[in-house]
Symmetry: C2
């Protein structure tokens, strides 16, 4: 009995001292009783895995210092209009993973992908079929489709927000004075049959901002910065999980190597070379034009 | 045979698309053939563990955004004279772990601990027994000892660099105009018997810089910011592994809860309340004074 007690006291006391063999346990054991349970959980899990990474990689002091300097440079690159840590999260696949963990949607429901840094909440509203290309530059594109629920019922009054690059791979906000304000951005609402439609131009691939530390990292890792051509959507309706997603052009050379891992097979659209005279008349287009038919399937909040 | 080939092709192609079940593998698989082997290894290990942490914690998008904002705030707090990422690494136990991974010293050799942010490379040189307390404030302390190699041989000409807080818990660089420049910093050299000695004052505990995001994190985790009272050393000699370390006062209330996990049992010194008249005379002290006897054992570079 005596010996057992001594061993146990020694072991209790040793909790205080740092020990490589159970370093994460020691760090996490320091949290106080008032620490909110979820904060405790998240911090514990990240501390555990970061410690495991240091040990597994046998990180040297010089490499640790390089890491400190890299993170500092990432922080210093962040401004009100540039978020280099989100970019870092994106290129490491962490943003897509968080999305995947949060939105495990049922088969058949439209899948999410990354929001990206070029969303502007104040895009103008258009009637069905409106043309969001304000400068007439690029190859005309018609996008038509329906929004439904999982049971296949059309959903009326759904907000379909859209934004994309021009045919040179730039968003309006990247080219103030070159592109008109709000070029290639618009908000649409589905009609009573759940239908939406808009006219635009074919988007082009473009590099993520690669003039900062994340761009240097990508380059050191032998990766290119070019996101495959896509159109952004946010589709939302009361009572349904909002969907933040893209549709991708199937012929883009960067489709299989998106630097932010945003491509999902279910989001690759067919861009048809259309000469449909009825559609051309309806939407005021000249033939030929690109046509994408794209439906969205929303999941009710109560269904999850 | 036919079926096997189809399965294998589908699986090859699916490498391109993001997949929650093997997300880290997909991200790491993107590195190019020119990526240096060590960079590939370190990035792969950290990506693997960060992905595992996201999945295990089921990190939500809101929590991810809080993390992004926290890291951004840490980056913005970094300046030429404040390194908030090192502080973050310190309070998460990562700095001590990197040190432990790098310096697995043999039994009996003096152990390392963190460098800390208050080291100044230009401390003045003193002869053996010099008094580094320039303002006469605090309880007098005599530190004496020997530097030896692993075989127990005294090492002459070893540089023993020392720095510490005053008795109020502040370094000179934190109180310009209050403390004299280079107060409580000095560089000593061991004599032909490997002996060093200096006069100082008893150090006091002090808080790590806790007015930034790392301080907020510590507070949320229910942890205090107070480092237990200690004296810093860097001990170096050509041909030997330099030792960056502290000695700790045994009676400090924060000894077992150092926020940066720097305490090792082997680094806790005895601070004796001395009335030794010979020592008092030799070092120009009035009795009583604190006395620490502290030896260092260096490991030859060739021995590792």
């Amino acid at each position: 009995m005596r010996e057992e007690r001594i061993v146990s006291e020694a072991s209790d006391r040793s909790v205080a001292w740092f020990d490589k063999a159970r370093s994460a346990e020691i760090v996490n054991g320091r949290m106080g009783p008032e620490t909110p349970a979820r904060l405790r959980e998240v911090v514990s899990v990240f501390v555990k895995h970061l410690h495991a990474a240091v040990v597994e990689s046998r990180l040297t002091e010089a490499e640790w210092m390089e890491g400190i300097q890299f993170l500092t440079a990432v922080g210093h690159k962040c401004t009100d209009w540039r978020q280099e840590f989100i970019l870092l999260s994106d290129v490491l696949g962490l943003s897509m993973l968080v999305d995947a963990v949060s939105h495990d949607r049922p088969e058949g429901a439209t899948e999410n992908t990354v929001l990206g840094p070029f969303y502007v909440p104040s895009a103008p509203a258009y009637p069905k079929g409106g043309d969001i290309c304000l400068d007439g530059q690029g190859e005309p594109l018609l996008v038509t489709g329906q929004v439904r629920n999982e049971a296949g019922q059309p959903l009326a009054g759904v907000t379909v927000e859209v934004w994309q690059t021009n045919d040179e791979g730039f968003y309006d906000v990247q080219q103030p004075g070159v592109q008109p304000e709000n070029n290639l951005r618009g908000v649409f609402v589905t009609d009573e049959e759940g239908q939406y439609a808009f006219v635009s131009v074919k988007p082009r691939h473009y590099p993520i901002p690669d003039d900062g530390p994340v761009g240097q990292l990508l380059s050191a890792l032998g990766r290119h910065p070019n996101r495959p051509a896509h159109i952004h959507f946010i589709v939302r309706q009361d009572g349904y999980d909002p969907v933040t997603t893209h549709i991708f052009a199937p012929d883009c050379p960067y489709l299989e190597s998106d630097p932010v891992f945003g491509v999902k097979p279910s989001l690759i659209a067919e861009f048809r070379d259309s000469r449909d005279q009825n559609l051309a008349r309806t939407y005021g287009l000249e033939s030929p034009f690109w046509h994408v038919e794209w439906d969205f399937v929303l999941v009710g909040k109560a269904d999850r």
